[in-house]
Symmetry: C2
Subunit: 797 residues, 2 copies
Amino acid sequence: MIAAPMSRDELSLIHRYWSAANYLSVGQIYLLDNPLLREPLRPEHVKPRLLGHWGTTPGLNFIYAHLNRMIAARDLDMIYVCGPGHGGPGMVANTYLEGSYSETYPDISRDAEGLRKLFRQFSFPGGIPSHAAPETPGSIHEGGELGYALVHAFGAALDNPELIVACVIGDGEAETGPLAASWHSNKFLNPAHDGAVLPILHLNGYKIANPTMLARMPPEELRSLLIGYGYEPFLVEGSEPELMHQLMAGTLDAVFDRIHAIQTEARAAGRVDERQRWPMIVLRSPKGWTGPKFVDGRKVEGFWRSHQVPITDARGNAAHLKLLEEWMRSYEPETLFDEAGQLRSELQALAPSGTRRMGANPHANGGQLKRSLKLPDYRNYSLELPCPGGLVAEATRVMGAYLKDVAVLNAQARNFRIMGPDETASNRLDAVFDVTERVWMEPIEPYDVHLARDGRVMEVLSEHLCQGWLEGYLLTGRHGLFSCYEAFIHIVDSMVNQHAKWLKVSREIPWRRPIASLNYLLTSHVWQQDHNGFSHQDPGFLDLIANKKADIGRIYLPPDANTLLWVTDHCLRTYDRINVIVAGKAPAPQWLTGEAAAIHCAAGIGIWEWAGNERPGSEPDVVMACAGDVPTIETLAAVALLRAEMPQITIRVVNVVDLMTLQSHKHHPHGLSDRDFDTLFTQGRPVIFAFHGYPQLIHRLTYDRSNHAGMHVHGYQEEGTTTTPFDMLVLNELDRFHLAIAVIDRLPELGSDASRARQCFRDRLIAHGAYIRAYGEDMPEIRDWRWPHAPSAVGIP
Amino acid sequence: MIAAPMSRDELSLIHRYWSAANYLSVGQIYLLDNPLLREPLRPEHVKPRLLGHWGTTPGLNFIYAHLNRMIAARDLDMIYVCGPGHGGPGMVANTYLEGSYSETYPDISRDAEGLRKLFRQFSFPGGIPSHAAPETPGSIHEGGELGYALVHAFGAALDNPELIVACVIGDGEAETGPLAASWHSNKFLNPAHDGAVLPILHLNGYKIANPTMLARMPPEELRSLLIGYGYEPFLVEGSEPELMHQLMAGTLDAVFDRIHAIQTEARAAGRVDERQRWPMIVLRSPKGWTGPKFVDGRKVEGFWRSHQVPITDARGNAAHLKLLEEWMRSYEPETLFDEAGQLRSELQALAPSGTRRMGANPHANGGQLKRSLKLPDYRNYSLELPCPGGLVAEATRVMGAYLKDVAVLNAQARNFRIMGPDETASNRLDAVFDVTERVWMEPIEPYDVHLARDGRVMEVLSEHLCQGWLEGYLLTGRHGLFSCYEAFIHIVDSMVNQHAKWLKVSREIPWRRPIASLNYLLTSHVWQQDHNGFSHQDPGFLDLIANKKADIGRIYLPPDANTLLWVTDHCLRTYDRINVIVAGKAPAPQWLTGEAAAIHCAAGIGIWEWAGNERPGSEPDVVMACAGDVPTIETLAAVALLRAEMPQITIRVVNVVDLMTLQSHKHHPHGLSDRDFDTLFTQGRPVIFAFHGYPQLIHRLTYDRSNHAGMHVHGYQEEGTTTTPFDMLVLNELDRFHLAIAVIDRLPELGSDASRARQCFRDRLIAHGAYIRAYGEDMPEIRDWRWPHAPSAVGIP
């Protein structure tokens, strides 16, 4: 038992501060008017529609008040990640009490009229959301979709040595998978260079209509679990406010002493020998604490009935109205606010000041702190090509060389990290290991490679952790890249949705400064999963991103290494976006010089004149379009086949790097005008489009283009297994032969030549099928195919 | 320390059995020919392309051999869930050794020729995948995407009291969030009515290129973690085979004694007072155990370099070829297989027989055991309507009454469960609690409601667990429904992808019997998240499903209660599909009688003649189409507005229940023919389409229809916050006024009347906006809107 660390006066003050926060929380949920209860509560003072969550809020307020005490006493740099984001009234109440809310929104002043507006705007049309949203000062975390509080907190703490991230985890949220894995983030946090995360597991016992697992399991089992996660748990349990205040204050004193000791020791020693056992808090308090104990004879406080609005229909039911008034008056508002409606000065004095207030901490508006990355000149990494197709290289390996220097240039700033589920090397980005390591706080054996206490690469077999760490890192003003198997990025679909929503809203809030974009490299993509098979083949993430607001989503499909370089450099310079780059790691022909790549990528789409054989001044017979590295190879191979077998066909090759160019400029800022689109794709010639992903995405993007009816898209048809790379293409009819046949099928004027050529391509398909079943690998002429047209003839820029 | 439980003879036999499995595993990865090494290994015996994962395989084989021993000794009904599914060679090897593989695939016979084919087919074009796939007898789990082994195992064990599900969890997989949460499934498993799950955490120390967290953390911390998860961990650690065999055998004896004791006690008592502490095993063995220790001077066994193919280029590198041959001969194949190439009889005798073999257990081909659900006559639950719009009801509450009787009728069969993240009641399905409860093995307090040791409803705040349990339940031949907030079903996108892949492949495998469909009720949908706000608004799951193979995915948008009843009944009768039903829980006008609903739903799409005002024999001026309950209301309200303000416009109303009818019949079995589509939508009249989800999905489904250019789709535009329900529609231009204006805008022939009507609708939008900002709720005329056209005039069927 911890002795009483606070004097009677201190205790009384902090209790009143908490009461003020609780009062403001209830007021936001219920009141339209009469904010200080200076007259008896009447039905018309109550909102017609009651929307909000009370249950978690008093606990959130309790924590906030006590963290304020720590900040003030120790001059701490702290932010508050509120896992139960639907406790929005609490976050708003506390930032209002400390003054940061009114500074952000001067219209919500610190007086009676401001209070009235504060109450009215909550969950009200034209007002503010019910959750801790981007609109909430001090928040980097919405909390609407549960599971990501702790991983966001760790992301925020990385490379922020002075920062302490207090993270409240609801016991509902704690049941989710991502949260369960997030505890292990302590295995990647270096006390010398990173800040601290203080997890506060808030056991209020109930979800919407059920008890929670963590609150109902035997306490010794919970303790064992948390120790197993690597923490030193401190328990704060009870419901009697006076005891709880003393217990919480004493516990926080102990916990911050411990954090300070860990950090001081690590920083003094200059090295870290082993992972630290960081402290954490288990706060076990009643759900709906200080609220009505029973309503209509049914248990409310300490039960799930307090989850949302504990007293319903306070406008229409006089007994309920009376109960609400009694509840609100139980906080004694007249002792908390002065005549003008301002928080009494002795209570104001409890809050920290300036940017020490958690609602004004710049880390929670990370764009304020963001410094641009130092980027090397990407042109220095360009491959030199004698001619298109004249070189074979692994695109992501070239990108790796560039990223290595990004790591070097920003090493001192410590503001760039690469995340990935154990695949940085396998994805050919291993050049970065020349200059940095994978961070790892568990023991390191002599035979381990590229593990260190310090490193810019974070690898864990959890896409959720990679995504969540990076989000937290970006939201606090830093930069990064997430490299992932294409199929498994779907694991974080829902996190991406939430981040996109955060960005969308943040962009509309003037005081939220832009943050660095969330950049993905999706490699080991669908066309390079012939070895792992069907479960590893899914290009559908592109469809998810295409559903996002046009301001947010970008999809890049660079066809080779030099285009990948341009795109990578570009994405690292953008902000407030989600950039998806899809690029393979397999050795492949290279098409564009650095200079040509820059021109092509800046346009996002273009005709590859050197590849086609159209005649100046007349439309080609067919347009062969391609988006994606492998589809580009197959398209060019099909062009070569057709030029050899059917030289009378005139072909235009269009390559798409920036997929959003296909959409109308009315729908997307990168979209081509209809005139430009028609110039590329013609108004009526057949277009054989070889696409990296599901074909329907192209149809969806181009549905309102004039030549849409002429588009024939080949892409992933959800066919695959463990087979050869080329057989994967054949199974989905994305291979050169099917593409060439598709061209012939769309040109009825070809006559009998067509049947001969078609038969020739079919025969070659059959021969290849027989070959792979005999030898288990692709025919050499396929594997080693090279673009046959000489450079002098192709006019490469 | 456990004493030696096996005699010398037994030990020798089990070791040789394990050696045989290891030998066959290496053979599959490497050999084209010379399967018994009866001649020296030559380059041409080796596959040109080496694809497969060795690292995890010897451990999987070790476990398999020892589980066989338990099955044989105790006549156990057991299946093997192989989390590291890429250890496919091991699963294939063991089912081959026990004979179930050759029974399933007679071509792979139990002789030298069969062995040759067994080796050759692995990871080979036209052969079998490298993972434990649907093609693998005894598997219900692919394991390609990691994280779901344990939750699948629990799903399989539910309501299967005699079944033991051995579940191997790789230490890579154990880092994922879903797996971390899955441990808590023990809080929902009833030893009286459910089977047992035996988790075997296989710590081989490494992922692709990194150590694993669980293997490197201090052992006492790991133990604490597992105890915290509620298990009694038994450690089997080492590398010396003889000791390890004895240790494993003794541990399994103890573990199965413990499982038996738990079950016997619970079943004898007839009641379960508290959750049991089930046993589990931690197997710590070297990665690539028994494989090459070093290759080219670099550590391989016991390190991540053994993850995939430990010796590369065995065809081209003579030293590597020699090493491979030595490795394979170290298993002494001549002592394992007889002259004919058959496993020696004394080793065959170790395997269980018949359906006790894990490769032949019918639970792993659940369709074999599936019994159809007993379904009540859904018509008995139909709402009686005086006329369209003549009744207001909550659709999901009506569905709840139906599901209640589904629960009753199948209570004895114990083959139907409802899963959901804490929302069964909030989603208005609470009628089911009249007849069953939520299952809960933690303490139950007197004031708790609808919690019991036994119950058909499973609620946990983890969509991953709900999804995984249901998948495991379905894969073993049972039925269920997952009810979820629409936005958060994205959390399991990737699991859905994998299940769709499993179904797609299973349907192509003759011996895999159909399993019940995976049925979703997505409620609290995007248009009913005005209170929770933007984070809860996302209808994009429909896009994910639309990417699936046409055989697999179905999307239903019933507009009211009676159509929801029909759709629910239909979905519960289907198999091998993923059915998504989107239906709101809010009070809403009802449109169709039970009879009319049946006709409409069977067609999937149709004209609502009673709603439009077109004249027989001539095309309407405009088609107003709708899909989704809220869009249907808005469309009808727009029709009413137009019929009042602009009666000269002739309108056809088309309602879509089965979204896939929109696709061409060439692409989807439910798709309309072009002629039928044109009959409904006309070939050239404007179509104002009010859609529940992202508008692009409609464009994508209809891109090749003749009237596609005439389609103007209104849907979710990614705009939203905490506001009123109607304001949500206005923000996304899906409300009646925007729809009515859209009609007018598409009919230039209307002349000056149009401007007047347009202005009228705009004024009403503005008035409504002002109203909600004043009162915080929708105008009564909007909230209480009713279809104004009298029944006598509308000819309701």
